[in-house]
Amino acid sequence: MSWNMTENLASDKFTLVREPIVIEDVLRFVRADQDGAVVTFDGFVRNESHGRRTEYLDYEAYESMAIGKMHEIGEQLHQKYAIHRIAIVHRLGRLQIGETSVFIAVSAPHRAAAFDACRYAIDTLKRTVPIWKKEYFADGAVWADGELPPVPPSSKTAS
């Protein structure tokens, strides 16, 4: 096979952007002639949340840490799956209904790895990458429930 981990990590893409995500650019980025499959996940703003009509969302991030955690996801993907390239692009700021908040693309010589890796990427992003979403409704706004990231065990021994 012509892919290898060193090359790949250098050519992955993990970014936070404030402008609309151009999906075609991300797709083009991960696709290479030695691949045969790209699986993508496009997460975008729904028009409702828990039965209330959403007007728009604001996303904020702990940006430097978020980029670091996205890189960690990339390293895990290359360890776990025979994939080629990964791109994870998350948008920040105000997003309207239907706009893409996160786009993930994974290329691989075979589709099973691309599916598994793409799903692992979005599942892990939602648990571990420090990004927060505030949902705005006609009658108010709430921070989305979210998930508490796993934290390393206490460094103390019991005493």
Partner: protein, 88 residues
């Protein structure tokens, strides 16, 4: 009389709902040299009592890695208090 512990300075960041609660995004904070993450948080609970309610639904990070509450602080650390994440 014991000598006062030397103090050290860390950068503290707040995000999401606790950024709104404290009104603070980022500031420098002084803590005793043997302070742990939990001590730093307690210091802020003293200043913003409502923060106490969030203790069980927060995680902390130290230098951009999730950290346990008993992690000891070092000079120049970047500490953040993070509500449950909701990206994606």
């Amino acid at each position: 009389m014991p000598t006062a512990l030397p103090m050290l300075s860390v950068k503290v960041l707040f995000f999401g709902r606790i950024r709104e609660l404290t009104g603070v995004s980022e500031e420098m904070s002084e803590v005793p040299a043997n302070a742990k993450l939990s001590d730093l948080f307690a210091l802020y609970v003293g200043r913003y009592p409502k923060l106490a309610e969030f203790r069980s639904s927060l995680v902390a990070s130290r230098n951009q890695e999730f950290a346990s509450w008993d992690a000891t602080l070092a000079p120049g650390d970047e500490i953040a208090f993070l509500p449950p994440v909701s990206g994606g």
